[in-house]
């Protein structure tokens, strides 16, 4: 019998993985993984509109005894330079961390650093 491994699962999700999905598919994928207790680091984060939809979808998925929501941390979108604007390059989402709210706690966030604490005793279900 295979022994169940303890520990917390961190998944670094590549830009390609999310880039190939529609917004609905992205949000379903993220919530499905987070509800399993996984912490996701998105190489290419969500747009603000997608983040808002993620909050909305999270509220629909909350189950009071098993899933209380998400913790999501990242910086705002990168502002393109004047040359990039001329070339038609728009704002880009930046790396974002998303995990179950009962597992992650934000300690500090400013313009230079985001400090997150993992609450001990939890892990991927």
């Amino acid at each position: 019998m295979k022994k169940k491994e303890d520990g917390i699962s961190f998944n670094l999700v590549s830009r390609q993985k999310l880039g190939d999905l529609s917004t609905d598919e992205k949000l379903k994928f993220i919530l499905k993984e987070v509800k399993k207790g996984k912490i996701l680091v998105l190489e290419y984060g969500l747009t603000p509109i997608e983040q808002t939809s993620l909050i909305e979808n999270t509220m629909r998925e909350i189950e009071q005894d098993t899933f209380i929501g998400v913790e999501m941390e990242g910086y705002g979108q990168d502002n393109p330079s004047i040359i990039q604007k001329i070339l038609g390059i728009t704002k880009k989402p930046r790396m974002t961390l998303i995990g179950p709210a009962d597992l992650l706690k934000k300690i500090k966030k400013d313009n230079e650093m985001i400090e997150i604490k993992i609450i001990p005793g939890r892990g991927a279900k």
Binding site: I49, I55, E56, T58, R60, I68, G74, Q77, A101, K109
Partner: protein
């Protein structure tokens, strides 16, 4: 038809003189004083109030609105529909209501369920508003994900945002931190509770929300 609409007399006037009427949403995380501010605005301009306030988060769990609130800054005025929305959060845990605020289990679960529905409703309202009064607690860290997400969303829609740095009557408030955190938006320090600096807020609301909507750019 579209061109004719764009060339209508009222549209031309609006482009020159700005809006006369706007639907303004009061947004922010739970417990930053949104309803206290809504009550302050209504009491000052209509003599009415919007709703009850409480130290327990998610007191406002359904959006409430008041139509045709005329706010005047001496030089010009703006007729506003004020929408007080439930606090937006990324998580709702009924145990917080039990452990921190002493609610029994049934009350806590009901409040949590209604709170999740309130967040969804608040997000839905974003579709139909002309501008946002984003309320932040000036005693707290401004870089919350909810603040960042709401601001990013409004910027993507090119909606005018005015940040009300609330609770400046508290000793540990720091509206300057909010101003430096979000320099791209006007920030008005205020105490919704005492009314301190509310005249400045009203004046900024009229000038800021009268501006015509800029062309959307992504």
């Amino acid at each position: 038809m579209g061109l004719l609409k764009k060339l209508s007399f009222s549209n031309i006037l609006q482009k020159i003189f700005g809006k006369k009427h706007a639907k303004i949403g009061i947004y922010g995380p739970p417990n930053v004083g949104k309803t206290t501010l809504a009550n302050r605005i209504l009491r000052d301009w209509t003599g009415d109030i919007m709703g009850s306030v409480s130290e327990i988060p998610h007191e406002t769990r359904r959006a409430k609105w008041k139509k045709d609130v005329k706010v005047d800054n001496g030089n010009s005025s703006l007729l506003m529909d004020i929408v007080d929305t439930p606090g937006i959060s990324t998580k709702v845990d009924f145990k917080d209501f039990m452990n921190t605020y002493g609610l029994n289990k049934d009350e806590a679960k009901r409040r949590a369920k209604e709170a999740t529905e309130g967040v969804i409703e608040a997000i839905k309202w974003l579709e139909g508003i002309d501008g946002v009064l984003l309320v932040m607690d000036s005693t707290q860290d401004p870089f919350t994900q909810v603040n960042v997400t709401i601001l990013g969303n409004l910027e993507a829609r090119n909606l005018p945002v005015l940040i009300a740095a609330n609770k400046i009557d508290m000793e540990d408030s720091s509206p300057a931190t909010l101003k430096s955190a979000f320099p791209q938006h006007p920030v008005v320090p205020i105490s919704a509770l005492t009314g301190y600096n509310s005249d400045n807020l009203y004046s900024t609301m009229v000038t800021h929300f009268r501006k015509r909507k800029r062309k959307k750019r992504r």
